[in-house]
Subunit: 339 residues, 2 copies
DNA sequence: TTGTAAGCGTTATCAC
DNA sequence: GTGATAACGCTTACAA
């Protein structure tokens, strides 16, 4: 493996000068720099990160920690898209992205703590926390206390931690406004009512338009054990919705999964989608393209969220004095056929 | 951060002895060892990986390089599942998993790819190559020439490189046998005919049962620009299939995407799935749960493939003399309603 | 503008 | 059994 010494020998300069030339620091004459760069290219020089880290007391590794609920499917696609966005932002920088999964029980356990220790043992330059959980916040504080730059990608829009959040409320607000613009007047919201962000967006739009709030709790949704049962929940929710609000002509669903079930359920009940009832999904998962009809849905800007989180993290790594920053990435509606 | 020196000072031993005691190598008296271990625990000692790497000329990083076609959606879910399998296998080892993406253009040459790989990769302990491409093989040879342990997760079952492949042929073979067992006698295969593995499995089962080969080329499938058009291709393929083989009572599709389109297309043509025609998908993507009816499909054992690849890679890293090993991970049928 | 020398934390080699 | 000592490749004072 080529090292600085090889280049020094080749160019007849000292190791030191070579180092400066390659990093563009300090005084190096143009001719020396040119020779060094040329030699480095020819010899296929790649800096030894271990040596650099050792000398500089500094790591070039960014750890992404993905919290995974034991009930879940392993790892959410949407989170992986965020990771890809992060990786993309890191391209052409000196940083590596290392991927970690932490399986959590409901609360912070000794088990969780151990997993975290293993992850930060090699002292990453920074950490991105991914996945829904109050746990994220505990870990965030823990890491910050250790002086590790850290960014959370969060469900909620919080101002007290470094975080990037997806503008869920604004997304649903937009979608409902769109439905209103299409002439719908009896717009339901279907989903879990424990999670407020989406509902707040819905209520805001409904209120502004002077319409009636029609919220349908999707029973059993929170305690699902797999996606297939979720689909059935959508089916039942369709029935419930039409019983509570027979006049419904549109529905904003909590998720694409629910929306898919909702479409099927409504069709079984002889309602046409979107002619009789418009259905709007949430997340823009792959399946949104394959439902009947394909779903109009509020899309998560995963890629952008990942990029934004990484940009913020690098800022914090390179300038530790940056204050707490909270960003919100707006959602966008993807129009297909269901609304 | 505690280092060996701190422990040496604390125990009154030399750094060297401390190092040996902690690694369990060489001669160290029991009492010395006990004192060292105790002190290490108290001080919360964690080895400095950068120093160790530097000294031992050895990295603790495993790079996963995912080749991505620019037409694709960014990163295939199935590949990410493999990555998760790999990460899982790495838990509780000293290795990190670092993630890389290489987007290749149409006229991307092996040369370009090599340059990119060289740039993104500062000496990992090993490399896993992921994603469809002849490029993978060129890169594989390049890395092996550099003495870098390397494993490919491949579409084809090859014997000349270290690789883990998914038993596609066997998967389709099983599925067609299942269809035959269900009393189907006019079983089609629909998909691209340029890709032979699946077709070989199909033909094998058909031949063994003395049935007629009925292969339907899915026109336009190869040159799709997005998933939505794929859905339409399935639709058209249904039409074509019924024209060519009106007696068809089952079809093995090239992919779940195609199968989804096929189901919709067949239903438009007044055929019931599975009563009139059974449809079997391939891949077991998330969408297979949301089609109408939910797809019976040949499932990729992604997690296992990832684990197997990582197990093989670690073997190669830790014992460079291991010969070329090719593994095949069998596929399994997931039964839903479409067949 | 360039070179010299020290040191980051660890492990390997050797002498005691 | 144990302890000096010398690397590993790089960066940073500081000297020239």
């Amino acid at each position: 493996m080529t090292n600085l010494k090889d280049i020094a020998v080749r160019t007849g300069l000292s190791i030191n000068t070579v180092s400066r030339a390659l990093r563009g620091r300090g005084y190096v004459s143009q001719s020396a720099r040119d020779r060094v760069v040329e030699a480095a290219r020819e010899l296929g020089y790649r800096p030894n990160r271990a040596a650099r880290s050792l000398r500089c007391h500094r790591s070039y590794e960014i750890a992404v920690i993905n919290f995974i609920a034991p009930t879940g499917s392993g790892c959410d696609t949407l989170n992986m898209e965020k990771v890809i966005g992060m990786r993309h932002f890191l391209a052409r920088t000196d940083y590596e992205l290392s991927l970690h999964f932490v399986y959590y029980e409901k609360h912070f356990t000794a088990q969780t703590a151990l997993q975290i220790v293993d992850i930060i043992e090699p002292r990453p330059a920074g950490v991105v926390l991914l996945g829904d959980s109050d746990l994220s916040l505990d870990i965030y504080r823990h890491l910050v206390r250790q002086n590790l730059p850290c960014v959370v990608i969060s469900h909620m829009e919080r101002k007290d931690v470094d975080c990037v959040s997806i503008g869920r409320q604004g997304g649903v607000y937009q979608a409902v406004r769109y439905l209103i613009g299409q002439g719908r007047r009896n717009i339901c919201y279907a989903g879990t009512t424990t999670c407020r962000t989406r509902i707040d967006g819905y209520c805001q739009a409904i209120k502004e338009a002077g319409l009636r709030e029609m919220i349908v709790e999707a029973d059993g949704y929170r305690h699902f054990t797999g996606l297939e049962s979720l689909f059935e929940v959508g089916d039942q929710t369709a029935r419930k919705m039409l019983t509570l609000f027979p006049e419904a002509d549109a529905v904003q669903a909590y998720s694409d999964y629910l929306a898919a079930g909702l479409c099927a359920g409504l069709q079984k009940l002889e309602r046409r989608v979107p002619e009789d009832i418009a259905v709007v999904g949430f997340d823009n998962r792959e399946l949104a393209m394959f439902t009947n009809p394909p779903l109009t849905t509020v899309a998560q800007p995963n890629w952008q969220a990942g990029e934004a989180a990484m940009r913020l993290l690098l800022q914090k790594i390179e300038n530790k004095n940056v204050g707490v920053t909270a960003l919100t990435v707006p959602m966008e509606i993807v129009f297909r056929s269901s609304a």
